[in-house]
Amino acid sequence: MSEITREQVEHLAGLARIALTPDEIDTMTRELGQIVDNVAKVSEVATDDVPATSHPIPLENVFRADVVGETLTAEQALSGAPDHDGSRFRVTAILGEEQ
């Protein structure tokens, strides 16, 4: 019995900035429901006494010295830009606020 609802998928699509079509939302709700049912069993063995591992090979204190390296030229930086004004990337009007 899956937990994922259509509303949730819509909400997630919003968070992920993907304009899913209604059909896609339907399909995805079904598919994700099945997948989640399947993967949810991880919580069975993930008891409190088991620590989480986020890095497969433990390392720590990996740093670099505060020394200037090479930068891209503005031309290189803008080379892939869909739209720019010669020095800056250009985007259409912004709706939301800075975080």
């Binding site: 250009r90 985007v91 009007a93 912004i94 939301g96 800075e98 975080q99």
Partner: protein, 499 residues
């Protein structure tokens, strides 16, 4: 935009208890960015200060700047914090065009520093202990310019331009715990707190901390609750607070605004508000779409930062004096009156005085010049006093006055020369020929000439009306282009008049 109703300030405080919180972002003055080796300086042509990492290009990876970590630890220690045994970076996920990866590498549940306290002194001498929740490392975003529309602000803009030069600059975010009990002093406390943070980071040398340049940014959180209520009220977060004075004004305004709403039976919306310096008001920000769920998780591309206890101790020993303690000591050492000292502090010139005194000047002379003529020139030019002249040069100038080589008036001319970039005070004296003429012979020549051309004055002086000498003194000073000690001229005038 409708004008908000504001309750009278004193009434607001009578009816409600104010709880404050501040989030201060400090830009670290490292040579390179937080996670890339692009140079850390602001300015330069757009997008010339970026690597693939700063643009968030596919395949790019972050690498931590060691200096930023040591600066952050020092800052944490200076805030009285404990330093984490193990600290991790985390991704804060949200979409925004100035955010090159659409996640910010920050810290979440394992910040580098936590649980501290900062002593803050208000202008009237009251001392507060502001509790610090945490200080953590993160990277700055790029800069957006909004084009089209009438205000240059985001509303009504047709399009926006993005410059990623600033993306990746190292930041430390300092978060206070809820500040309770400030009462009517809340707004001043806010300003004083931010000013104290600025003094701390400048004394540490980890940041230039100029609010007007964005090296130091403050978000002010305000909530109200009825007296005696335990539960905290709903808080608002106010951004775009760009000076100490703005902090004070914004906090005061929010208190008044929220009180009016609550008193009328309304509720406060938890939201981000924008401070408007020109109107002295806050306005509601635009929808903050991802704020509810940043989906923090440990940054898989970076490894834990595990500062050794030896390093932490080493940095702790290297800490400079805390600002409040330092101020107490200086005021006592210098023997300033309360108002004199406060004046210096409020003008942000404390460090300048310290440096000038260290270079040999007397505290009072240093104060006189910095808060007097230098501040005046700075105001006129619209810049910071410290950008006009160095403490070393001020000290040199003071020494020249004290040795009698310069009068006050001449010294002001010399100062202008120094400010104009003509060199050190001694160099300006030479090149402009501004030295006080100490050779009596030259003075006497000028005096005799002046007396000869003003026989009536000469007669008056001989008659015992010494005030008349003023006209002759004036003429002599003019002839000497001010390069004479007026007191000595007067002496000589009276001597020569009798001769």
């Amino acid at each position: 935009m409708a004008k908000a109703d504001l309750m009278d300030y004193d009434e607001a405080l009578e009816r409600y208890e104010v709880v404050l919180g501040f989030e201060v972002h400090v830009e670290l003055a490292t040579k390179t960015k937080m996670f890339s080796d692009a140079p850390n300086f602001f300015g330069g042509a757009p997008n010339t200060n970026v690597t693939p990492v700063d643009l968030g290009l596919p395949g790019s990876l972050p690498v931590v700047n060691e200096q930023a970590v040591t600066y952050s630890i020092s800052l944490g220690l200076a805030l009285g914090c404990s330093i984490a045994e193990s600290s991790r970076f985390a991704r804060k996920n949200y979409f925004y065009p100035d955010n090159p990866k659409n996640y910010q590498v920050s810290q979440f549940d394992e910040p580098i520093a936590f649980e501290g306290e900062v002593e803050v002194e208000l202008p009237d001498g009251t001392v507060f202990h502001v509790p610090i929740e945490r200080a953590h490392m993160e990277e700055d975003a790029g800069k957006l310019t909004h084009v089209g529309g009438s205000t240059g602000r985001i509303q009504g803009a047709e399009y926006s331009l993005v410059d990623y030069n600033r993306a990746g600059i190292p930041l430390v975010e300092i978060v206070t715990k809820p500040i309770i009990g400030a009462g009517a002093l809340g707004p001043e406390l806010g300003a004083a707190y931010v000013s104290t943070i600025r003094d701390i980071v400048r004394a540490l040398g980890v940041s230039e901390a100029r609010m007007e340049r964005g090296n130091l940014r403050c978000d002010a959180n305000v909530s109200l609750r009825p007296h005696g209520q335990v539960e905290l009220g709903t808080r608002t977060e106010t951004k775009n607070v760009n000076s100490f004075r703005s902090v004070e004004r914004a906090v005061r305004h929010e208190i008044q605004r929220q009180a009016a709403i609550l008193a009328a039976g309304g509720t406060i919306t938890q939201e981000t508000r924008h401070w408007h310096e020109d109107t002295g008001r806050t306005s509601a920000g635009r929808p903050k779409s991802d704020a509810d769920d940043y989906r923090y998780f440990p940054e898989p591309d970076l490894l834990p930062v595990v500062p050794s206890r030896e390093l932490v101790e080493e940095l702790r020993l290297a800490l400079p004096e805390a600002p409040v303690a330092m101020r107490r000591r200086l005021k006592a050492d210098w023997g300033f009156a309360d108002l004199e000292f406060q004046d210096v502090v409020n003008s942000g010139l404390l460090q300048e005085l310290v440096d000038t005194v260290a270079a040999g000047a007397s505290p009072q002379a240093a104060r006189k010049w910095w808060t007097g003529e230098i501040a005046r020139l700075a105001n006129a030019a619209g810049v910071e006093p410290s950008s006009l002249v160095s403490p070393l040069h001020v000290s040199e100038l003071i020494a020249l006055v004290e040795s009698g080589e310069l009068t006050d008036r001449l010294a002001r001319q010399v100062l202008e020369g120094v400010v104009a970039g003509e060199g050190s005070p001694s160099e300006v004296v030479e090149s402009r020929g501004l030295r006080v003429v100490s050779d009596d012979g030259a003075l006497i020549a000028a005096i005799d000439e002046a007396l000869a051309s003003q026989p009536d004055v000469l007669a008056k002086i001989r008659d015992g009306k010494v005030q008349a000498a003023g006209a002759v003194i004036g003429a002599v000073m003019k002839a000497m282009k001010g390069q004479a000690d007026a007191a000595r001229v007067r002496e000589l005038v009276l001597e020569r008049a009798q001769a």
